[in-house]
Symmetry: C2
């Protein structure tokens, strides 16, 4: 397996585009994206568990029910959520796109992201669709990744090449997410494409399994969005033997998918609203995976841990504190903590108590852009990782005046 470029166009048969259609006032910001497969594709998705759901969620869910799709349309600048005509608008986006592409409206995945509670004007979308389609290209992933960004400061794209039964396959994805990120049995906006041939059922199985240890272990600010969605389209252009049951090929597909999703998780965490550092928490020696996950997620969600990472302050008591209130079944009297980064590693607590450690070295370790907090338990063999970011002045600034 190797990392390649191309994002959602790394897989054969996929093209993409992103444009400014006019939903946003800032004309230099793309606000409408399209991903298109030149043939029908297996489709799988997971959605937010928030009871308040963007209108696009319901429309996409019903379109994907039959296990196939060919196109993804997504706008930024408006979430189309809590609007009386929301569902109508989301359906209309699909119809307009389907007509122009000559495909069925129920083969369109639709998504929206941005402010909640402001009606979404269909006019700029309707006017933009012909241009968007004319711009579809094998080099379009980057423009599509830009078109779905909200407060993101960098676009998130990743792709890998892998082999199934001797055939070269590709899988790649784009993501947006910077705030309101705390996925729960679903996630932020992520669109993944692959040319592997795989049945809708196995594709859904792979996705649902994967997100439990990837997007569901990511939190920027503890707020689960109303518009979260991850979709995967698999168009079979690679010509591999169809994956329609568990086995070696399915496992290899799962590994490729996981490589893409972990990379997107890290990219989203590293671009959290206002963040200066990506923070990873690895819990080892847990009684079971549930305990490891619960503890790791509590650490990356803690406002105090997040502020401590911003200050590069080795205040390990806050890590202990978060594990302690997480609800995870752990023996805190055996707990240890060390901090790791490109600058080195430093152990700060062991057996439930603090150690003497060099504040100077700790500061150096915690001052890197990517920091790992390792929590060692002595309760068993299970481990888990979770990703987040520091809490900064800029997070507050961005969210105090988001609408204005």
């Amino acid at each position: 397996m190797k990392l390649i470029s191309g994002g959602v166009c790394a897989a054969e048969g996929f093209t993409a585009a992103g444009m400014h259609c006019g939903i946003r006032k800032n004309k230099s910001k793309r606000d409408l994206s399209l991903i298109y497969s030149d043939r029908p594709a297996s489709a799988a998705a997971v959605y937010t568990t928030n009871l308040v759901k963007g209108a696009a969620i319901g429309v996409t869910r019903s379109h994907i029910e039959n296990g196939t799709a060919r196109a993804v349309i997504c706008n930024s600048g408006n979430a189309n959520t809590c609007n009386e005509n929301g569902t109508e608008t989301a359906e209309r986006m699909c119809e307009l796109l389907a007509e122009a592409l000559g495909i069925d409206a129920d083969d369109v995945v639709v998504a929206s992201t941005g402010v909640i509670g402001k009606p979404l004007d269909i006019a700029p979308i309707a006017a933009g669709i012909p241009t968007l389609i004319s711009q579809l290209s094998r080099d379009g992933s980057s423009a599509a990744a830009e078109g779905i960004m909200t407060t993101d400061t960098v676009k998130k794209e990743v792709a890998v090449e892998f082999t199934l039964g001797g055939k070269t396959c590709h899988i790649g994805g784009i993501a947006k997410g910077s705030g309101m990120i705390h996925p729960n049995m679903a996630t932020m906006l992520v669109f993944i494409t692959t040319d592997a041939a795989i049945s809708p059922a196995m594709l859904q199985k792979a996705l649902s399994h994967d997100i439990a240890s990837t997007f569901n272990m990511l939190s920027i600010d503890g707020d689960t969005s109303t518009n979260d969605m991850v979709t995967v389209l698999a168009n079979g252009a690679a010509g591999n033997e169809h994956v329609n049951a568990p086995g070696t090929d399915f496992e290899e597909f799962m590994r490729a998918l996981n490589t893409v999703t972990v990379a997107l998780c890290r990219a989203i965490a590293g671009d959290g609203e206002g963040c200066t550092r990506m923070m990873e928490c690895v819990v080892t020696g847990a009684k079971d995976e549930a305990a490891a996950k619960t503890a790791a997620k509590a650490v990356i969600c803690s406002s105090l841990v997040k502020a401590m990472i911003f200050g590069a302050d080795a205040n390990f008591g806050r890590v202990f504190c978060a594990v302690g209130y997480s609800g995870a079944d752990v023996d805190v009297t055996k707990m240890g903590v060390c901090f790791k980064s490109a600058a080195g590693e430093i152990e700060v607590a062991r057996g439930g108590f603090s150690l003497d450690f060099s504040e100077e070295i700790a500061k150096k370790v915690l001052s890197e852009h990517e920091v790992t907090i390792v929590v060692t338990l002595s309760d068993g063999d299970a481990s888990a990782a979770a990703w987040g970011c520091d809490l900064t002045y800029d997070y507050v600034r961005i969210n105090a005046d988001y609408r204005t």
Copy 2:
């Protein structure tokens, strides 16, 4: 029932003091407090549910087991948590105080607050105790309230006068809490005293019932402290008929206790680390109390709602979003939101959708120091309130360099 001054000394038979003994470097900051009853008192307490617990928690729990206590000693500047000699130090604080006061060590409640994982030096405490005792006075509540403060910017004291069976009784309390505030079946540091005569069992019953709708509905930053504790001492000096069963007197006592605890909750919320506004969320029309509480707490815990309140931005979608992911059993299609404060009231959403509203008026309403978010449901008759504060640059500043 009427509000009076005097804090923990409002009740007959109680004296208090607070001094600088030397745990903190800053000599102008009191760091050791004492509350003393001239006679044995019924005692009740609730503690943090964090698995990582300050050493004082275990020592107090064993001292209160028999239902009586006479003195409370509390230091700030060091939490005495995650230290190998922590329990020994907490026990020693009780012994030294008991010896000097001529009471039993197991009639002493001990508490500590401050940084985690740094050994607590007993020397300044031992040296300070004689002075502390010599300063005990009926006017000492204010000094005691100051001695337990950490990042608090104002001291928290409240007291009320009420009547039980024709006898005038008093109940009052002091509290500290500004960060790491997200009580869960327990709370931050709160010491309450009363001269009502009430049995330990009924006192514990009153306290345990009360905190479910007061301190457990308070959150500054989502982090449950390792050192949370609320204690009540009732010394019977008021001469009322002993309350040892449910009934009118017990209910009146509960009302007085609740008046004190709600006032302390609001005081803690209004002094949250770095905060500029106290935020209350009231949920009405819920199916049951559990749904109302879960929804209210999710709103005040949301980083995005907190940042929006800092910016006085009527972005009600974030309130909808928080209720939606809270896990509360609610019908979001009937949900409404209005904002209230001393400047007026404005409805911004109804029936699951946004309303047209004046941004100017909304800004005015949200710019007050105390702001209430009212979430109206149409699922039943239950309601609940929760308290928190806005998320500001200063919260980040305070917690990025807490130790240094």
